[in-house]
Symmetry: C2
Subunit: 251 residues, 2 copies
């Protein structure tokens, strides 16, 4: 474990996310998976099912961040073009690979399903990549360089992450503490909060207002304060100071 | 209404989205708001609460897409730096503006709340911007050039969109039809689906596998097919062809 900050990006591939029809949950899921390993997300992008868009974004991200995780577009249908786009981004060949084909053959034989030419597309792997196991439906993801190509279905994406953790070199783990203030307003807290943030430059402190509709029609409001940092003892000090803001009188 | 494709991007600003602690819903919300106006999302990005990150992403997006919508970072606390980052991206000055200040004064006077210096930060507007009304909490967003700066709290973000629609020049509306196939598998559909897609190059057809756990422990599976296009009659033809796949025998 180095003390260097290790940062990653997520590249979500899919027209259905951009149309608003499907709600992405993989960015948050991957972020929560990486945090205990000591890797934080520096950026996330969503692009359409277009080879040029995917390859362009991937090349921008993989040269900037330590790791990149892509989600989506690795199934058997015509709109699944991620593997080709990744090969194009890396400038390598792509074709059906024996080990990936063997996985699919075994999987479909076990379920008595025909390995159609369309399904065989899922064995197309860019040259130089290593496979990522898919414990849910078999069809593998793959890793090439610092890029991990995962499924878009959240459950499959989550399963694939299990085969990735041991390949990642994490940094110092960032801890988080949260304080939920009731009947508080950001404008009343801001000055004291700014002072706490200034006193602890190694911690990042975020302030998030929340609103809850009450059954009677009223509105309850408060502020969630979240501090992040690598020094657990310092974070505990910060947490106590943030908690003390609950007692500050509202103006 | 022009027939040109009008495309937009969303820039989500916030460490809490990147940490996985908060689930973004604004990308999908904005996409669904824009669709009937004839504007589709071409890209979305999430960046951290860092002025350089925000300004860099904003300049990349605003020069490439017709419109950009940012969400988050416009409150009164130290971590709300979006307005400054937008001013930096455009290379313009920023300061407290009289009309924005008047809105805040009226709002806080009505609720008997002190207009603290922290709250006054929400009246800091980049030079040349026009305000966007906030029907929920008063503090305005703003528009500068083709960039719309909105709140991150989903309910406030949604409220601000109502003050934006009339400022947007939409293109031809993209319609969507969806067909939900039960007990279907992508690998069995892929060939026929590819043919339909090839026959209708002006429609974009997406294929999305779904899985449902049954109460008895089993798994139900199927495929959701979504076609998009501008010609409603052609889309109806495509819908019928997609629906006919339900009856195709599984191999």
């Amino acid at each position: 474990m180095s003390e260097r900050a290790v940062k990653a990006a997520v590249l979500v591939i899919g027209d259905e996310i951009l149309s608003g029809r499907t709600q992405d949950v993989n960015v948050a899921q991957i972020a929560r998976f990486l945090a205990p390993i000591g890797i934080t997300l520096g950026e996330a992008r969503v692009v359409s099912d277009d080879e040029g868009e995917i390859a362009g974004a991937l090349n921008a991200l993989r040269t900037r961040w330590d790791y990149v995780f892509t989600t989506g577009g690795i199934g058997p249908t015509h709109d699944d073009i991620t593997a080709d786009a990744v090969a194009a981004a890396f400038g390598v060949a792509i074709g059906i690979r024996a080990d990936a084909r063997a996985i699919l053959e075994a999987q479909y034989a076990a379920s008595g399903t025909e390995l159609t030419p369309a399904r065989l597309r899922m064995a197309r792997i860019p040259e130089g990549a290593s496979l990522i196991a898919n414990p849910v439906t078999g069809a593998p993801g793959f890793q090439i360089g610092n890029v991990f190509v995962l499924a878009g279905v959240p459950k499959i994406c989550r399963g694939m992450l299990e085969d990735i953790a041991h390949r990642l070199q994490g940094g110092a783990v960032t801890h988080a503490v949260a304080v939920r203030l009731e009947n508080a307003r950001e404008g009343d807290l801001a000055e004291a909060l700014g002072k706490i943030a200034a006193d602890h430059p190694d911690c990042s402190i975020g302030s998030y207002p929340w609103f809850e509709e009450l059954p009677g029609g009223g509105l309850k409001r408060g502020v969630e304060l979240v501090a992040r940092g690598r020094d657990a003892a310092e974070l505990e000090t910060v947490r106590a100071r943030l908690q003390s803001l609950q007692r500050a009188p509202t103006a």
